[in-house]
């Protein structure tokens, strides 16, 4: 996570994706959410390794899919964001907001009004 307490960009995004999915966040759905909101493909590997790391740090918890859901395929592993994870998101947001305070992006001149 780094000294400042700010989460890595991707870790933050994954955490938020899990949050968005509520009780039904699992690898594939998290990946879908991420791709949708970031407007770019995200690989399975990227998602799962990051989830592992977040779990090691105690930011998320893994939960086995209900035995009631009868579908084909390997059982899902659902994820929940734990209070520590919420706290990490909060710190991240707070510090970043301080960094952005007063910044006004000067409209980067994309190429011309012709």
């Amino acid at each position: 996570m780094g000294k400042t307490g700010v989460l890595g960009s991707f870790e933050e995004m994954v955490l938020l994706a899990v949050l968005h999915q509520g009780d039904h966040a699992y690898g594939v759905s998290i990946r879908r959410e991420l791709s949708r909101r970031s407007e770019s493909d995200v690989s399975m590997g990227a998602v799962y390794t990051t989830l592992d790391r977040l779990e090691e740090k105690g930011f998320v918890r893994q939960r086995r899919g209900e035995p009631t859901e009868s579908r084909r395929g390997r059982p899902r592993q659902y994820y929940d964001v734990l209070p520590t994870g919420i706290a990490a998101l909060d710190v991240t947001r707070r510090i970043r907001s301080t960094m952005w305070e007063g910044v006004e992006l000067p409209a980067a001149d994309p190429g011309g009004t012709r």
Copy 2:
């Protein structure tokens, strides 16, 4: 920068620190700004390596300190954020804002009102 177009956490902070310093952003002042706003020490190495990387990517430009400034010590290298850098910040902000959309942090229960 990663596939999503979102800057690394620290890269973003450095870019913002440079912006905050306007025309007078150089290693030491950038580091100071960063430490102040993030409420934690940041090492010289962290700052300079990141600036190098940002320069390679064309997000900032290095400029030698004015010969008029007569001070002791090694001359400063000032940094400016280039339009590409502004654009990167913009993309970063936009995507992240999409990721945060609708998220309400559930007040992580810090330990009790006792």
